[in-house]
């Protein structure tokens, strides 16, 4: 299976696509990378003259790789037009700041995928291998009624 097939199915585009490359996927885990583009608009305001990646964006990056890419794989790489995805919870810890141009690696372990709900234990590391944030994330993948 081609990992790029998963990325092309993602329902995001710039400036809200936070997946560059997937490194590995199987039924229980996934990992991928993203390098934060220094030109992303939010860096102008978070913070003034001191750009730091907001926690919500780190969370989103972890959700796109750890939940959505994983979910597409679990649906046999087939995200139909009537498939609805929704982010439903995140219990996060932010351990270190992430600056513009930093490359992060997200690793996600499936806790369960049942009744359309995918719940995962997700960790983000920086290029030196330090954990920058971690959390339990969950989302629903269902068919539009």
């Amino acid at each position: 299976m081609n990992l790029n097939d998963i990325i092309t199915q993602l329902p995001y585009s710039k400036p809200f696509l936070f997946v560059d490359e997937l490194l590995h996927v199987d039924e229980n885990s996934i990992s991928g990378t993203y390098t934060f583009d220094e030109n992303l608009d939010f860096y102008k305001g978070h913070f003034k003259d001191n750009p730091v990646t907001p926690g919500v964006i780190l969370t989103e990056t972890m959700a796109q790789i750890g939940l959505v890419c994983m979910g597409i794989h679990l649906l046999n790489n087939n995200l139909e037009k009537d498939t609805v995805i929704a982010f439903t919870s995140a219990d996060m810890q932010f351990l270190k700041p992430v600056y513009p141009k930093e490359k992060v690696t997200v690793s996600s372990q499936k806790i369960y995928f049942r009744f359309g709900k995918l719940k995962c234990d997700v960790v983000m590391k920086n290029e030196t291998g330090q954990e920058v944030c971690k959390g339990i994330l969950a989302g629903m993948i269902t068919t539009r009624l």
Binding site: A86, T88, S89, Y112, F115, A138, M140
Partner: protein, 84 residues
Amino acid sequence: MNKDELIAKLKVIIKPYTSNIEAYENLSENTDFISDLNINSANLVDIVLDIEETFDILIDTTDMQRMLDVKTAVAIIQSKLDAK
């Protein structure tokens, strides 16, 4: 296990997932998980997984889709327990 005992166990499971304290305190057979207790579909999945663990039963997708109120949940749990 009789119906009241079953509802009492169910009530313990539901507690962390509802924000409507008044509806929770007055929980009865007629309580609807979504409209009365403000539980969304994602939390309903967790409730069903907790039900499976607490009662040592397996809920399938068809049962899950019907499990929208206390009365139906109790009926499904009871039938699974009876079948054991």
